[in-house]
């Protein structure tokens, strides 16, 4: 099977991918904000006497991401959104005979490379940075339906059923 044919068979549809990202993009910040409120991270004047509040928010955001997605990424290469939509992240590796094989994505790549693009999707709320999420997502229109984070981590997203 050539690469193109393989893509047509297994690749997750674009709308499923975008919807899954949308679910993650709502859940992670929503729970982070909830925790920020529960732990009073940015509620009092004392919190702003230094810059540690920013680190606290970052730690809570990372913790929330891992809490929601860590186990499923480890087990099946899925964030919560992707699990709900029945799609998963896999690596695309070329075998010696030239064929492509789809293998489970290494957990470290998902966390250390792929997940770093997730917060960048949110910088688009700043008007002059709206191009950043567009740049990350635009290549999903290609045949392989890979976004920038897929190219960076050598992954594709496939449907499971």
């Amino acid at each position: 099977m050539n690469n193109s044919a393989q893509s047509n068979l297994f690749l997750a549809s674009r709308w499923r991918r975008l919807l899954a990202t949308g679910i993650d993009a709502v859940l992670v910040p929503a729970i982070t904000i909830f925790l920020v409120m529960v732990f009073d991270v940015v509620e009092q004047a004392e919190d702003f006497t230094d810059q540690w509040w920013a680190l606290h928010v970052l730690v809570l955001a990372i913790g929330t991401y891992l809490l929601l997605n860590g186990y499923t990424l480890w087990q099946s290469g899925q964030t919560l959104g992707k699990k709900i939509l029945g799609i998963a992240i896999v690596t695309q590796q070329q075998k010696p005979d030239g064929e492509y094989a789809l293998l489970p994505a290494p957990f470290w790549k998902l966390i250390a490379i792929r997940a770093l693009f997730f917060p960048l999707l949110f910088v688009g709320i700043v008007p002059f940075l709206v191009w950043v999420p567009i740049l990350i997502l635009i290549s999903i229109v290609g045949k392989q339906r890979r976004c920038l984070h897929d190219y960076a981590s050598g992954t594709v997203v496939v449907k499971l059923n």
Binding site: M37, E43, Q44, A45, F48
Partner: protein
């Protein structure tokens, strides 16, 4: 016969242009190198025998009147650009301090720079990576029998107050106001013989834009420090009551607090005869409101005891949250008009010899008070007002003709409603009666938002002229007698600078122009609110006599 080949001619032309470009680049490199080389041997020593100002307001009364100047209605038309210094930021907020041979200037993200007055070359730099938000103020440290040490004082908007040795440029002390959790040092300190008075506002006005912030607990204030040691003498909060929980939002997760606010944004004025400080306050940040917001304070300079407080606008509660949305959970309801006294108070002598305390408000009003009692002598509404004025940064007076000059901005900003018809321009009023003597109105250069032509920045007076600077980048000189425009310079352009930086002018705001001897100087560029045009030009003009 060689035929004409247009293609070949085109290539030759391109090559010639490329060659010329390289030569031009080379020439420019040499030229800029030469400019920088000219500054190479600039001596670090400064003549500190004469300072042309001792405060933000040029004098302790905040008159913004320069008595040592030769610029007047007769020669203002001969002002010509002398040199340009390229600043390191696009929102300069510093006001220069001038001596016989040096101009000291705060350059945010670069430091306190000592520039040779004749050339603009750097004598020395006290490097400082922060937002220098004040005028540069001279002071003297006297420690026992030791030799007096001349110092320069400035504030970093968030980091506190700094004293730097005026000769060497070395740090002497750095102090912060410990009585306030999150102070903002927006106003310029005022220095008397042995005391540094520091106006204190609060970061909460903008922190409230975060809906998860429990707005608001802080009060504005005035602090007094010993100039020699940096030790606190007294601190006066403008709201005495401790803030208490008044409600909550987001299902009770975020508490709401009050009273709060009444920040002191501007430099105080000092009356040595009465030993009093006068200063204005801003609005409350949350409910309940207090009777000390949008008010004028008279305070004993030695003890910090309040002598009287005169409030001009009640129930004004507002934060940056309201500029985002009136439904923002941290926008106080009912929402006030946000009409601070951002401009410093002025102690002026009327022609009949009486002292009058003047205060310009963001509402577009100017008030005159008896400095002994706070009794209101007259009030005059000149503009519709708004969240960046009305009167925004400062007035000027010329006591010899008994006139106060009032710059009106009247610009809408940050989508906050500004009802009424704007009336930007310069107004001249009689100090004693408040009667209007003349009014100067400017035309807009275009319909874009950045072309708003109001006068937000402070102004300066000298001899028989007033010097103004506009939001759309014009530096202008007017006759103090009738408001006739005598000279104008459009700073919306690029400049060659003495320090080799690319320099552009922009909106002129904040501290406004300074004048000393035959020089007029101003920082152009202010990208702070809404769509004002940023810039990084510090411009120095000089009166050139016709035969020069």
């Amino acid at each position: 016969m060689v035929g004409h080949n247009p293609k070949r001619t085109g290539v030759a032309t391109q090559r010639a242009i490329a060659q010329l470009s390289r030569y031009w680049l080379l020439v420019m490199c040499f030229a800029s190198g030469a400019v920088l080389a000219e500054c190479k041997n600039t001596p670090a020593d400064t003549d500190l025998t004469t300072f042309y100002s001792n405060s933000w307001g040029i004098d302790h009364h905040n008159t913004r009147y320069q008595p040592v100047s030769t610029v007047n209605a007769g020669n203002a038309a001969n002002l010509e650009l002398k040199w340009v210094y390229g600043l390191s930021n696009e929102t300069p907020r510093s006001f220069p301090l001038v001596t016989k041979d040096t101009i000291f200037l705060g350059d945010s993200n670069h430091g306190l720079v000592a520039l040779e007055r004749e050339t603009g070359c750097e004598r020395w730099v006290f490097e400082h990576k922060g937002l220098i938000s004040s005028a540069i103020i001279p002071g003297t440290i006297r420690r026992g029998d030791a030799k007096e040490q001349p110092i320069l004082i400035f504030t970093d908007r968030f980091a506190g107050i700094y004293a730097v040795d005026a000769i060497t440029g070395n740090l002497v002390w750095h102090i912060t106001v410990e009585d306030h959790l999150i102070p903002q040092y927006s106003g310029t300190p005022l220095v008397t013989d042995d005391t540094v008075f520091v106006p204190v506002s609060s970061m909460e006005v903008t922190l409230a834009a975060n809906p998860f912030y429990g707005c608001c607990t802080s009060s504005g204030g005035m602090a007094a420090f010993d100039i020699n040691t940096g030790e606190k003498k007294w601190y006066l909060p403008t709201i005495k009551e401790e803030a208490k929980i008044t409600g909550s939002h987001f299902l009770g997760f975020v508490d709401e607090w009050g009273p709060s606010g009444a920040p002191v944004w501007g430099s105080p004025s000092y009356d040595s005869k009465r030993n009093r400080l006068f200063f204005g306050t801003g609005q409350n940040y949350s409910h309940p409101t207090t009777d000390t917001s949008d008010a004028i304070f008279a305070v004993d300079a030695t003890s910090g005891e309040v002598q009287w407080v005169r409030q001009f606008t009640e129930n004004d509660a507002f934060t940056a949250a309201c500029a985002m949305s009136l439904n923002h959970p941290n926008c106080a309801k009912p929402t006030g008009p946000d009409v601070d006294f951002g401009a410093p108070t002025v102690i002026a002598r009327a022609l009949n010899g009486t002292d009058v305390l003047l205060a310009g408000q963001k509402s577009g009003d100017v008030h005159a008070m008896n400095p002994d009692t706070g009794e209101v002598l007259w009030s005059k509404k000149l503009g519709r007002g708004g969240i960046i004025g009305g009167v925004h940064f400062g007035l000027a007076v010329n006591e010899t003709i008994g006139t106060v000059f009032v710059p009106i901005n009247d610009r809408a900003a940050m989508n906050y409603p500004s009802p009424g018809t704007p009336a930007p321009g310069l107004y001249a009023l009689d100090i004693e009666s408040g009667e209007q003597q003349w009014h100067f109105s400017r035309e807009s250069r275009c319909d874009d938002e950045e072309c708003m032509y109001g006068l937000s920045s402070a102004i300066t007076a000298t001899n028989d002229i007033v010097i103004t600077a506009s939001m759309d980048g014009y530096l202008e000189v007017m006759s103090a007698d009738d408001g006739k425009l005598l000279w104008s310079h459009d700073t919306w352009r690029t400049y060659d600078s003495v320090n080799g930086k690319d320099v552009e002018g922009g909106s002129i705001d904040s501290q406004g122009p300074m004048v000393a001897d035959d020089l007029v100087m101003v920082s152009s560029g202010y990208r702070w609110i809404s769509n004002q045009r940023g810039g990084n030009a510090f411009l120095v003009f000089q009166v050139v006599t016709p035969d020069e």
